[in-house]
Symmetry: C2
Subunit: 126 residues, 2 copies
DNA sequence: GCACTACTTTACGTTAACGTAAACGTCAGT
DNA sequence: ACTGACGTTTACGTTAACGTAAAGTAGTGC
């Protein structure tokens, strides 16, 4: 019914509730409240997903906030938009660098694995 | 002549000398010494490159050390080799996840940028 | 009514990855 | 002999991203 508790999200994404509250302290998520209890909307859930994706990519939470905020039009200020486009471009460059890194690392891993397998073979064992 | 000073490497890779020494404290690089001065070989330089690549991918230094150590045959112990192959496989899974993340993020960025440009157009400005 | 469970706030603790400062050695140039 | 430029060690400081413990609230089952 498009509504989540903190422990539900915590289980779904395998993070502690402390972590989720921490993101709120930093202003990354702003769940509604029923009484004093946090109530998360699908949109809140999406933000959490994006934050965690950012983490997997090695972004800081501050960095993730900026990126996530790009998706929300909000400020229709021209200068703001131009800044955003620049930020997007910068981010794209970083990501392409990461793609390159990953590609190289994968190649290296293949090589390392092949070496391992060779070494295993030469021991006569399996 | 296949030999580098700490400041040379620091400039080449745009990190501080403190950072390079820190990696040595953690046992990630073991440069030779001329007197008490550090002397880096091409192999040391490569290790540094790999560490920094790991950083860009969001790996911990500890994590990077493990990966880098995969490249050096060294232990021809069968169990060791099998453990390495497993580690490599795990790493590969993480990297493929990252590839997915990046691909998604790039798509999102394209969308965000398109939205920005649309917003700019509608203001009549350029 | 009482235990249980899930939620809350407050606040100090911890770890990784360096930053930064102090105090010193060594060699090249003037 | 003095001044930089570059190197060294030692050691405390800092920031991000939570962990962890304490103490309280609020509904649910029996």
């Amino acid at each position: 019914m498009a509504e989540y508790s903190i422990s539900q999200l915590s289980k779904e994404f395998d993070v502690t509730t402390r972590t989720i509250r921490h993101y709120e302290e930093l202003g990354l998520i702003k769940p509604a409240r029923r009484g004093q209890t946090r109530v998360y909307s699908p949109s809140d859930r999406t933000r959490l997903r994006l934050i965690l994706r950012g983490k997997r990519l090695g972004l800081s939470l501050e960095n993730s906030r900026e990126i996530i905020d790009m998706y929300e039009p909000g400020k229709t200020n021209v200068e703001q938009l131009k800044k955003l486009i620049n930020a997007i471009q910068a981010q794209r460059i970083k990501l392409n660098q990461q793609l390159d890194d990953i590609s190289n690392l994968l190649t290296d891993l293949n090589q390392a694995e092949a070496d391992c397998i060779d070494a295993l073979k030469s021991t006569g064992q399996h």
